[in-house]
């Protein structure tokens, strides 16, 4: 994904689709530029969120409305809805029968009742109405006019309101127990309802819940727990479900575990798909409504499984009751408990490459272990020593995913630095804090062992010598991008022959190097922006706030650790410098094109040494952020204009 700050802003407002959101978050994880931009936009958002006092006109407005309504009602029959208000202690264990509902046209001759302000009052004022049969069809669309039940006549056709009116009665009757803000209300009701709001219910047969300030509306039988009834309802933002989960199945006698991938088709409430990723493939499908999920898997080893349960608020766990219907009808139906625990957000492809990666390291471990056994507990000096006796070739360890391997002999544990470009950052695999702490300790220990130079943004694998298994850990850099080891430390003679392979490799190196410079250009811009236009005093000053990946300071053509780029304008206010160096600064203001043109000719940073090959040259970063490969052999000859000679060389003179 390219950096799109507009989308980033919409993302902060929650105004992007689920797919976009995921793509933006993935991009944010790898793009320091966008992270800075997000910070800036968030700051702007925070500053505008100075709290506003609650205005005090509510009561006055409602009085106005009431009187307005009274005038209207003198000639228009109207509908009244229940108001369940806080009754405090009055609510406790009070069994009330609420008879409230859409006043039908039969009621038009009755005087409109005052809306009850307390449940107790409601119970006193109104006789419970007979409960009508609950609607079986709970998916009735509210906007559709419903056929009226027999006892309720349809509204007269000459009704002057242009709105479509739904004429189903709403009859709510039941029991209220418990003290606010938590009260349990048992209701039986039927009628037209809206399907908006919060679905906090855990009962499958309550399907529609509307909690708007003090109203509770259901359209089916069931028990509903309403939280914070008198308060404004809480807004619910559900975290995404997609990711890797483990499921623990508790049967009558044994517990089984399996790994699942959970996917939610959007928009919610939508279809929930879970697929077992180890062992025989099982795919269960279901629906998700709020945090309440139903699941069904038809062909499993046990038989058909169906169940339902609720996710917790963080959506990290689902506990569901389920029933197994064995293929053989003679066998009894078994009750099981399913507990899903979220491990990580990782897609199937990533998981496959992780498995492949682990398998390679496992092979490497086995070869090493065999070598150690044969050599009186000595490790090989290099992995190459394993060939050919212990491994047919090093290719066995070099799946395209594995970019570089280091290992440190001389300890009871072998540590391997393996990088796989296909793997996500370690946080996504191990979101829990204990692991994070352990990884930090691990990295500190590694630093003591091998120094900073070897610490790369890569996955670190720890092979425990005493165990025949591979334990995977990751370092804390979290960045799984690594340079091709074969591309490091190029020698000019490698390219002397000018073969197509050598030339294409050279091109790749140049591109990669140019990308480094481009990133540094952005880093400089960010630094300038926050330091009154001054460029950073040196490369080290930008780490880690502006440049999270110090590896971009090394060109892939140089040895690791080389300070590859010459930085021409440390601690300079380029804008001022520019004004001083032109004859007429006012012309810069009046002519933006000129401004840009001048900038595009100021070199900021460049390679310290030439790229080898038939066209020697260096990548140069210019003040406008563009990077160009300039040949240093001045191909055009002494009389032709040349960017390198005319624009860059003057800056290098005297250095």
């Amino acid at each position: 994904m390219a950096c799109d700050f507009t989308e980033l802003s919409a993302y902060l407002d929650g105004e992007v689709s689920e797919a976009q959101r995921r793509s933006i978050e993935a991009h944010l994880a790898v793009c320091p530029v966008c992270r800075r931009e997000r910070e800036r936009l968030e700051r702007s958002k925070t500053m505008l969120s100075v709290p506003v006092e609650q205005p005090q006109f509510h009561e006055q407005l409602m009085r106005r409305i009431e009187s307005e309504e009274a005038t209207r009602r003198s000639w228009i029959p109207s509908l009244r809805w229940p108001r369940l208000a806080t009754a405090g202690a009055a609510l406790v264990c009070v069994a009330v029968a609420l008879a409230v509902g859409v006043r039908t046209y039969q009621d038009r001759h009755q005087p409109p009742p005052t809306p009850p302000t307390h449940l107790a009052a409601a119970a006193d004022d109104q006789e419970p109405q007979p409960t009508t049969e609950p609607q079986d069809d709970v998916s009735a669309v509210p906007e559709e006019p419903q056929p009226a039940p027999e006892q309720e006549p349809a509204p007269p056709a000459q009704e002057q309101e242009p709105m479509q009116r739904t004429t189903l009665p709403l009859v709510l009757s039941g029991t209220v127990t418990g003290a606010t803000p938590t009260a349990t209300i048992t209701v039986t009701t039927s009628g037209e309802v809206g399907t908006f709001g919060i679905d906090d219910t855990v009962l499958p047969d309550v399907t529609v819940v509307d909690i708007v300030s003090r109203q509770v509306i259901l359209d089916h039988n069931g028990t509903l727990e309403v939280l914070a009834m008198d308060d404004a309802p809480k807004a619910v933002a559900y975290p995404p479900l997609d990711g890797r989960w483990t499921v623990r199945v508790t049967m009558a006698e044994q517990v089984e575990e399996a790994n699942f991938l959970v996917r939610l088709s959007e928009p919610a409430p939508g279809e929930l798909v879970v697929a077992q990723v180890d062992g025989p493939e099982i795919i269960a499908r279901g629906t998700l409504r709020g945090n309440y999920a139903t699941l069904r898997a038809d062909e499993t080893e046990l038989g058909a499984i169906e169940g339902s349960g609720s996710f917790n608020d963080e959506r990290t766990q689902l506990i569901a009751d389920a029933w197994v219907h064995p293929d053989d009808p003679a066998e009894p139906v078994e009750n099981i408990t399913l507990q899903f625990d979220k491990l990580a957000t990782v897609d199937q492809q990533q998981r496959a490459s992780l498995d492949r990666f682990k398998e390679e390291v496992r092979q490497m471990y086995q070869a090493l272990a065999q070598y150690v056994r044969d050599h009186e507990c000595c490790f090989p000096d290099a992995l190459a020593d394993l060939v050919p006796d212990y491994a047919p070739s090093l290719d066995a360890f070099a799946d395209t995913d594995v970019r570089t391997v280091h290992y440190v002999p001389g300890h009871t544990r072998v540590m391997l630095w393996c990088a796989s470009a296909a793997l996500p950052p370690w946080e996504e695999f191990y979101p829990s804090l204990p692991m994070r702490d352990r990884l930090l300790q691990y990295e500190a220990a590694l630093r003591r062992l091998v120094g900073d130079a070897l610490l790369r943004p890569a996955v670190v694998l720890e092979v425990d010598y005493s165990q025949p298994d591979v334990t995977l850990t990751c370092n804390t850099m979290g960045n799984v991008d690594i340079h091709d080891p074969t591309a490091q430390a190029v020698r000019p003679e490698d390219f002397a022959d000018g073969s197509p392979e050598a030339l294409s490799r050279l091109t790749a190196l140049r591109t990669s190097c140019a990308n480094n410079l481009k990133q540094l250009g952005l880093v400089i811009k960010m630094f300038e922006n926050e330091h009154e236009g001054y460029t950073p005093p040196g490369w080290l000053m930008v780490y880690p706030e502006y440049c999270t990946d110090p590896l971009i300071l090394t060109s892939p053509k140089d040895e690791p650790g080389t300070d590859s780029y010459l930085y021409l304008f440390p601690a300079t206010n380029l804008e001022e410098w520019l004004r001083e160096s032109v004859d007429d600064p006012s012309e810069l203001d009046s002519n933006p094109a000129l401004h840009a043109l001048v900038q595009s000719g100021i070199p900021i940073a460049l390679n310290r040494t030439d790229f080898p090959g038939p066209k020697p040259g260096r990548n140069v970063l210019f003040a406008d952020g563009h990077v160009e490969y300039l040949r240093t052999d001045i191909p055009g000859g002494p009389d032709q204009p040349d960017l390198w000679r005319d624009e860059v060389l003057p800056y290098l003179e005297g250095r």
Binding site: R43, M62, S78, M163, R165, G194, N573
Partner: protein, 201 residues
């Protein structure tokens, strides 16, 4: 009443509530008010700078929304009541400015009445901060400012803002981003107005 009303962000419910208001359901309207009062007040406060006046205008806007709904002049399934009430409120605020010509035009960087009734220090501090932000907002182009204010104070969705301002949601997205970006440039980390800064090359 409904202390945390602005936390309620399920805008989808507005449409159904207004549908019931059309049928004369006062309770539904009250619920709608609890959702709209605070954002509406916050938005108007920015426009007219005077808390008393902002309350009056907010009340009037909600009352007009109610009348409109009751008179059957709302197409429930087309557009959102939120956009409508902010549109009404905006027009009311413009009328107000026309009536009181001595008062500065909207967001001209004057605290006006905001500080007048501020005995509590927290309130005064807030007013001061608001003044700084108003000054920065005044530097935004009109379109960017309106979109940003409807978003941040009115808590409207992009679609609603688009409806209020009569542009496409894509345009709203861009305006909000630009406004936000510029605001971040104009204010330092403590919300102090620092004005134009040199952006280097």
């Amino acid at each position: 009443m409904g202390g945390q009303g602005s936390l309620w962000t399920d805008k989808a419910g507005d449409g159904r509530l207004i549908g019931r208001v059309c049928q004369g359901d006062v309770a539904a309207f009250e619920a709608l008010c609890l959702r709209l009062e605070r954002p509406l007040f916050g938005y108007l406060l920015r426009l007219v700078k005077n808390p008393t006046e902002a309350e009056d205008l907010a009340q009037e806007a909600l009352f007009r929304l109610y009348q409109t709904a009751r008179d059957g002049r709302i197409r429930v399934r087309k557009g959102s009541p939120r956009a409508l009430v902010f549109n009404i409120a905006h027009n009311l605020a413009m009328d107000f400015h026309r009536r009181t010509r001595n008062v500065a035009p909207p967001v001209a960087g004057q605290a006006g009445g905001a500080a007048e009734a501020a005995p509590a220090s927290a309130k005064a501090e807030r007013a001061l901060l608001r003044e700084q932000i108003d000054q920065a907002l005044a530097n935004l182009p009109e379109s960017h400012r309106s979109a940003l204010m409807l978003r941040e104070f009115g808590e409207l969705s992009y679609a609603d803002i688009a409806q209020t301002l009569g542009v496409t949601p894509g345009v709203v997205k861009t305006w909000i981003y630009r406004g936000r970006r510029r605001l971040a440039d104009l204010l330092d980390r403590d919300g102090q107005y620092v004005g134009e800064r040199n952006h280097g090359v």
